[in-house]
């Protein structure tokens, strides 16, 4: 296997980090819905925390994407 095909394979493997981000965002949004169901009056506060949590969980997927882009457009 030469270098360029190994890089393509690596680019594909790198975006597997999206799995973890998907699970993380799912947990964050599920727990947010639970929290809002318990205390509907505090919905505004939960939304802010939800956005932070989702952004932090998502950033791992973005790192994977950046790595795969670096491998693709070397």
């Amino acid at each position: 296997m030469d270098v360029s095909s190994a890089a393509l394979l690596g680019a594909g493997i790198a975006v597997l980090s999206g799995i973890g981000a998907g699970v993380g965002i799912g947990i964050v949004s599920g727990k947010t819905v639970e929290a809002i169901a318990r205390q509907p009056e505090a919905q505004g506060k939960f939304t802010g925390i939800f956005i932070i949590g989702a952004a932090l969980a998502e950033s791992t997927a973005i790192y994977g994407l950046v790595v795969s882009l670096l491998l693709l457009f070397r």
Partner: protein, 247 residues
């Protein structure tokens, strides 16, 4: 690029061509060659749009506001309330910074949706590419944010309090606290860059696979919603970092 050349390129060549940052012109000053890329020019255009709209809305300000003035006043009030709610005491001082970042990022992320589309023999004179596809733009925003955090921490806690905060709550937290100042701007810059570039590439792929019905529908998410969401996330995280630094 003419339509004929476009047809002969493969999809991956077209994507590589589209996301490349090109140098528009070079400034020779102080013995240096400063290359001005197309993203820098787009930054100037976005700035010009924002300044022109704000100036037009606040020209001839009245006690009973007109339509533009009322919209701008509502936005300013919203940013003031948002900053005071999240940063508490000194929130109002940071409202201008946060509002500027938010308005700029929203405009910069949504403006590519207004690019004219080619096809059927029509050749657009210009294309608007997202300027956050250049990591230098997002890295500059992250650098400004982290400098704001550092300066406000020194200003409200003093130099001693700033250095003491590195060994709080425990002395062994020192390496993690130092690392935080490198990781936070990196993740801010990479998040915005990766999201916008990823969305742009997906839009290019969708246009290559099915150029007729699908792009406007998918574009609603990737051009409008995702751009707005990433601007909100960037501003919100900046607010959280500043609030944590000065509380």
């Amino acid at each position: 690029m003419s339509e004929a050349v476009r047809e002969t390129m493969t999809v991956s060549e077209r994507i590589t061509e589209s996301i490349a940052v090109k140098t528009v012109f070079t400034i020779h000053a102080f013995g240096l060659e400063i290359a001005i890329s197309d993203t820098v020019v787009m930054t100037w255009i976005v700035m010009a749009i924002l300044i022109a709209l704000s100036a037009a809305a606040t020209r001839r300000m009245k006690m009973v506001p007109g339509r533009g003035q009322a919209a701008l006043e509502a936005f300013v009030t919203f940013v003031y309330d948002f900053a005071e709610e999240n940063i508490h005491h000194h929130g109002r001082k940071y409202a201008a910074f946060l509002g500027t970042v938010f308005l700029f990022l929203v405009t910069a992320n949504v403006i590519p949706a207004f690019t004219p589309d080619g096809g059927f023999g029509f050749e657009p004179h210009f294309t608007i590419k997202p300027l956050t596809r250049d990591i230098n733009v997002t890295a500059a925003f992250a650098a400004v944010t982290i400098v704001t955090v550092l300066v406000s921490k020194i200003r409200y806690k003093g130099v001693g309090g700033f250095f003491r905060s590195f060994v709080q709550p425990m002395p062994f937290m020192l390496p993690f606290n130092i690392m935080e100042y490198a990781i936070r701007p990196t993740s801010l810059a990479l998040r915005l860059f990766g999201n916008m570039l990823g969305g742009y590439i997906i839009m290019l792929l969708v246009e290559a696979v099915m150029p007729l019905v699908l792009p406007p529908v998918v574009g609603l998410y990737f051009d409008f919603f995702d751009g707005l969401l990433q601007a909100v996330v960037f501003t919100y995280l900046s607010t959280v970092f500043i609030a944590e630094a000065i509380e």
